[in-house]
């Protein structure tokens, strides 16, 4: 008792001083939030604002001229090439989304429900992330010797006498683009779904079994509904990444297919920055609408 009393007496003047220096709580919260506001402001809001501003500017081969024209949007939205490119990009996105969702769910389901020890779960989960130890480009390019005209698959099939001539559509085709995109993006599906599956109370599954549910009925009536938030988060990752992809489409289609981002990249290499900016704004709006649609279907607040 005595020591506590003396301590509080000794600290009293220091405490009083600290109190006089203390900011009001309302101001304090703003001060604490400032670093993040600065970072997001400089590296996120400001660039987007600049793109939005530039999208209204005029340009020619020599330079950019500050102005307020809707010409860039008229040209973008009025051109059938834009619509075709959007359609193509959407086609890739839907295919990649469907495949990553199916594969990602089963991988996550296997990890969460069929691997019994946590150690093994973590080991296998890390194995899933191994491809991420190399860059996107390298993972993509390494498909070329596998899928190429004289690549592993074609030469193996010919050697076995299954096909007389190499299959042409393995590489530089929509198939190759989708394959590479699925390969690159499946983990973004696995992670959030695995996370939600791990949070499902195992007694729910026993309760379902107690109510007479079969394995498929448990999957359909209990596990899938409860995995929805994870599937939504994964879908947001995959949809935004695929909609904005240009390098995979360029490399894997051999330049024969276009995506919206690839179109922008080409415009930028021709120094048509305002046109590219207008395109970017349109893409941003489209992607935001898709994300909004996903969030409307699934309530992910439970996960956050």
């Amino acid at each position: 008792m005595a020591s506590i009393a003396s301590k509080s007496v000794a600290e009293d003047p220091a405490q009083a001083q600290a109190r006089s220096l203390r900011l009001p709580p309302a101001v304090l919260s703003y001060v604490q939030a400032t670093p993040l506001i600065l970072i997001l402001g400089f590296f996120f809001l400001l660039p987007i604002l600049m793109i939005a501003v530039v999208s209204f500017w005029d340009y020619d081969f020599a330079g950019l001229y500050p102005d307020f024209l809707t010409m860039n949007y008229e040209e973008t939205l009025g051109s059938w090439i834009t619509w075709k490119t959007y359609l193509n990009t959407l086609k890739y996105t839907v295919l990649v989304w469907g495949l990553t969702l199916a594969i990602g769910f089963w991988v996550a389901y296997f990890l969460a429900f069929h691997i019994r020890t946590t150690t093994m779960q973590m080991v296998l989960f890390l194995v899933c992330t191994v491809p991420f130890l190399t860059s996107n480009i390298i993972r993509m390019i390494s498909w070329i010797p596998v899928l190429g005209r004289n690549g592993l698959i074609n030469s193996a099939l010919i050697d076995m006498g299954i096909i007389p001539a190499p299959i042409e559509w393995l590489l530089y085709s929509d198939f190759a683009v989708v394959l590479a995109l699925v390969h690159l993006n499946t983990l973004f599906m696995v992670t959030p779904i695995f996370n939600t599956l791990m949070r499902i109370d195992r007694s729910l599954i026993e309760a379902a079994r107690d109510c007479g549910a079969t394995g498929w009925q448990i999957l359909w009536n209990v596990i899938l509904p409860l995995a929805k938030p994870g599937m939504a988060i994964g879908s947001i990752f995959v949809v935004t990444l695929t909609m904005a992809d240009f390098s995979t489409v360029q490399v894997m289609s051999g330049g024969q297919s276009a995506s919206v981002a690839l179109m922008m990249k080409n415009q930028m290499s021709l120094l048509q920055y305002p046109a590219a900016a207008a395109n970017a704004v349109v893409l941003l709006v489209v992607v935001l609408m898709m994300v909004a649609a996903i969030l409307r279907v699934v309530d992910i607040r439970k996960e956050l």
């Binding site: 007694s203 729910l204 026993e206 309760a207 379902a208 107690d210 007479g212 549910a213 009536n221 409860l226």
Partner: protein
């Protein structure tokens, strides 16, 4: 809803790898009774319940429900229903769909199953909340929904895994009464796992006390309290002091004399023991008096180490006879007529018939 089944457990064991959780236990639970499995955590009571439910495979032995051996049946085919410790309500479904879940699995059409589920909710007085999600309910309400979900399958036996442990003390007592009433109304067999002696005493027709994967005693609450079978039961149920020693002599009148490690000799009535055999006796804490030992009333002298005032009674803790927490419960009138303080030497004794010779679990 009146068909109740007898549950017959025949030398059932549960082995997990190298450890045996349940050692070949046998038990008959009469139809329509309220049976409580009681024991410390890890004693095998939950494993036993889960084996009856079918959520745990039976390593050896058989479980019979009514006239059917259900050992290899899946849970839903056994005629049992289980209520889980945390209720395990489906968070994504409203109460009607939660209760109707098993009917949906059976393929009952939507209107029929929702109507039946609503009837079940009515029975549990949860009808006004029918369209809510489980997360919007209190613990007691969740329990009622879990009961409704379990009972909609019209089971012959309801298995409850620590059903009251998630509730606050006040609600615990209320839901306890509700469970008992429900069991009486439905007339089916309830098997209830708990680690609370009070809960088991209040609810059960048959208390099964388990320790270390074995049944120590299976009897009515009154018998468990008045004639605990083993030292474990006496200690676990509380309200008993246990003294241990080795037999020195048994006479023909059914009196066994034994000597504690401290050298005191006590007498207790019970079946004869060979000299040198270990002997444990249980003495009810409320039957010990502050009086010197006589021929008919064994006792010893000890030192008071703690006094707790409890209102209607006073609890003394006494060191002596090889025990350092020998408990004496005195009525407040008796205590204040002759108060003692910590450190006082006191003479304790009890009537010969208030001590029980405790047995040991064999096998």
């Amino acid at each position: 809803m009146s068909k109740a089944a007898e549950i017959d457990i025949v030398s059932v064991s549960k082995v997990y790898g190298a450890t045996t959780a349940v050692h070949a236990i046998s038990l008959k639970i009469p139809p329509g009774s309220y049976c409580c499995f009681l024991g410390p955590s890890g004693c095998g009571k939950t494993s036993t319940l889960r084996m009856i439910a079918g959520h745990e495979s039976i390593s050896s032995g058989d479980v019979r429900l009514g006239n059917v051996v259900v050992t290899d049946f899946p849970p839903a085919k056994r005629g049992t229903a289980m209520m889980f410790q945390s209720y395990a309500l489906f968070p994504h479904l409203d109460l009607i769909d939660n209760v109707a879940f098993s009917l949906k699995m059976k393929g009952v059409d939507k209107d029929a199953r929702r109507a039946k589920a609503l009837d079940m909710l009515k029975l549990m007085q949860m009808e006004p909340y029918a369209t809510r999600r489980p997360a919007q309910l209190s613990g007691g309400q969740q329990q009622r929904v879990a009961l409704a979900r379990a009972l909609i399958t019209d089971p012959e036996a309801l298995l409850l895994d620590e059903p009251l442990s998630a509730l606050d003390p006040f609600l615990k007592i209320r839901m306890r009464a509700e469970l008992k009433r429900l069991q009486k109304d439905l007339g089916i067999t309830f098997v209830h796992v708990t680690h609370s002696q009070e809960e088991a005493m209040a609810l059960a027709d048959l208390i099964v006390i388990m320790n270390d994967g074995r049944i120590e005693q299976a009897a009515s609450p009154r018998e468990v309290f008045e004639r605990p079978a083993t030292a474990f039961v006496a200690r676990f149920m509380g309200d008993h002091n246990v003294l241990s020693g080795r037999a020195v002599a048994s006479d023909l009148n059914g009196i066994v004399a034994f000597e504690t490690s401290g050298g005191q000799v006590f007498r207790v009535s019970g079946k004869p023991h060979q000299p040198g055999e270990p002997v444990d006796i249980g003495i009810r804490t409320d039957r010990v008096r502050l009086a010197a030992a006589t021929d008919d009333a064994p006792g010893f002298n000890g030192v008071v180490s703690n006094i707790e005032y409890r209102g209607a009674s006073v609890k003394l803790t006494v060191i002596g006879a090889g025990s350092d927490d020998f408990t004496v419960i005195l009525s407040d009138a008796d205590y204040f007529a002759q108060p003692v303080t910590v450190g006082d030497a006191v003479a304790l004794s009890w009537a010969l018939e208030d001590a029980v010779l405790l047995g040991r679990v064999t096998a």
